[in-house]
Amino acid sequence: MSGPVLSVENLQTAFRVGGEWRWAVEDLSFDVAPGETVAIVGESGSGKSVTALSIMRLVSSANGRIQGRIALEGRDLLALSEEEMRKVRGNDVAMIFQEPMTSLNPVLTVGFQIAEALRYHRGLDAGAAKAEALRMLDKVRIPSAKSRFDNYPHQLSGGMRQRVMIATALACKPKLLIADEPTTALDVTIQAQILELIKTLQDEEQMSVLFITHDMGVVAEIADRVVVMWKGKKLEDAPASQVFNNPVHGYTKALLAAVPKLGDMTGHGRPLRFPRIDPDNGKVEGKPVEQPDTVAATEPPLLEVSGLTTRFGIRGGLLGRLRGQVHAVEDVSFSLRRGETLALVGESGCGKSTTGRSILRLVEPSFGTVRFGGRDVTGLGKSELRDVRREMQMIFQDPFASLNPRKSVGSALAEPILVHGLAKGNEARERVAELLRKVGLAPEMHVRFPHEFSGGQRQRIAIARALALSPKLVVADEAVSALDVSVKAQVLNLMLDLQAELGLAYLFISHDMAVVERVSHRVAVMYLGEIVEIGPREAVFSDPRHPYTRKLLAAVPVPDPRRRALRRELAVDELPSPIRKLDWQAVPTALVEVAPGHFIRQPVDARA
């Protein structure tokens, strides 16, 4: 067959919201050729996921309707009966989702779930299905597939679960695989493995892939052709190299400009603002300039953390005795100056968030000292702690969970000012207005409630709230991770401006290496609760010394198809667990200076 596997013509999908029909996808047309990978890129609300659901006809008929033509190898899917459509799903088109945690049934073994798909779609008997399921587990490179067959989903890690999902999807040799943000919930090293797996399997099975993502880096890694969507409409449809090197539409240019690329910062000593590009015409407004030198290098450090250790007990048994401990943070030491940004990077579970929370004592550290402005925070009583906390604030990841839904924005911002008696009445109102202006929002917005703001605006409000008490240190815990690319760039620019204006010190906790490279002065890489490498940003990124840092950097997808990593057989490995028995003894290690200010963790030589 030579025609396209999937051909979408004038697709329109609408949802009924409060009695009105709203278009989620408008007049979308594209083709997917055999063996081709087409990526649909867009920010939230662009209609990319709705497109995938429309192709699968998973839009509920009560509240949604699909118009146009969706042809799979010439067969119009929209004309099929529900019964025929059910045969198409799984057999001809398979889909994998973002959350491998929720798309597997927790009470059935993974082997059973794959075998079930085989029995149902291919009519195999129990024995043959089991043999085939085992072959599938091998195919998705799950180590020791035989022993994994009888595991329940909770016994597998996120990456392994996504592999199982892929095995289930591929069980019936579909012609088209739809992958809806399949790696978004995974760590970078795991993401690289899964992308590699999808590419390899695509070669082996000769199937087409429709890949839906918001991540330009992932697109560059995997896509042959790119469809850019914005507010339900298609803006661009071109081969990947053309989209990246020679984008036509202004929005695409703005989108690409907002994506930080690893390696962009070589030659820049200080953080760099993101360029602003008008999405309507693609003109650059304001060249990116290096930030002024904000670091107060001559003053004593604002924050000194030494030997910080936080462990959580795991209790079990009849009497609830301590059975083990999660070593979330182990012997972490660093210092931070006024006006400086120290980034804590690492993958999930490495203890970077717990470190941030331990410094503010939102979590009680087990050992170690945290000196802030010369005072030891760990030994403070309740009222003294309250004084110190005025100067240390935190911004959280989820802009939806970090604001109280039942408080108007104005009262949320006024509350800390009133509680600490910084201002009253009109003066307080004036300060709220000033805070809103400072984060780029209109002061008139103070009467609104959080649900009336977009994610980016909410994050601005959270920043404004953190600034209400004029802090010196702000701990930003994945503060931009949940935001769309263009919004992310704006919020990061705001944070850089505020640093230049107010001399703020940031502890910037993130898993995103490219963002970290852009905004930080110094970088600390965390692995299993320990800092394995710490140093000036340029040194860590251009000359990584610790093997884990190198691995992390290699796994970051680069938004440039020319630099698409050569096919490499990535090892299937997992992050080890930080849970230890009570009598566990650490291998003695120490930070060794390899260059001025650049340390890596090495085992202490037993002979020394």
Binding site: F15, V17, G18, R22, A24, S44, G45, S46, G47, S49, V50, L53, R357, L360, L362, L385, R386, D387, R389, R390, M392, Q393, M394, F396, Q397, D398, A401, S402, L403, N404, P405, R406, K407, S408, E415, P416, V419, H420, V447, R448, F449, E452, F453, S454, A462, R465, A466, A468, L469
Partner: protein
Amino acid sequence: MSTSVHDAAPVAPPRLRWLKATIGAFNANKTSWVGLAIVVAVILAAVLAPVIAPHDPLEQNILSRLQPPHDDFYLGTDYFGRDILSRLLYGARISLVIGIASTVIAMVVGSLIGLLAGYYGGRFDVVVMQAMDILLAFPSLILGLILVAMLGPSVENITIAIALTSIPSFARIARAPTITVKERDYIGAGRALAFSDARIMAGHILPNIFPEILVMASLWLANAIRTEASLAFIGLGVKPPIATWGGMIREGFENILDSYWLVLAPSLAILVVVFALNVLGDGLRDAIDPKLKGER
């Protein structure tokens, strides 16, 4: 999925829109209006009893005793010749006063216990909630019976007894959402802003869990009215001759075989009020639950 569809910011003032959406959701199930109407009617009847009652509820008239319903006495008369309709209207006052007072006491005390236990957690939580579980293990009627027997039957004591039986349920209802809400980032932000525990609980957690408590209260009000009637029926209610619904059933029970109306009127009154409150509670739950609200 739905989040990706509507990104346009709405413009109406927030409180008004919230009210509209809430009424809309309440409206979805028409029977909730029936419940609300009945509850309002009963409250009005109780409040206006001195105005609308055709007779004095305590006036005995030997000549017109045990009369079936007719033009002078719309619901008949009892063994002492008192007008049943008037007694029913005055009885509603006792039922509602005891029901509402005991529910409010239980709501305040129980929610406070649940809020504290949920927020502080740890050993405090374990000890307090175990105590609540022990209370919960008693059937509420038995517990009420013991308490009234100990304290003596009066409006205050019956109110206290009924309140005590429903405190554990409110504690449970308040504790569960507290635990969910206290893990939210805005609570962490509040702690980082050095807010006191009391401020966080009262200003940030309570407004978020209050809807659940309110729904529970409407359902427990029905329960309290039933418990009061049951206590009165077994003779531990407010002392005669004051009219209460449970007491009327008890008095009428002796003549039930030849004068059915003695029992029928108060029984129906209890049935209708309990039904109305349950329907109202269901409607409130639908109206307040944002998950159900969005789906329409």
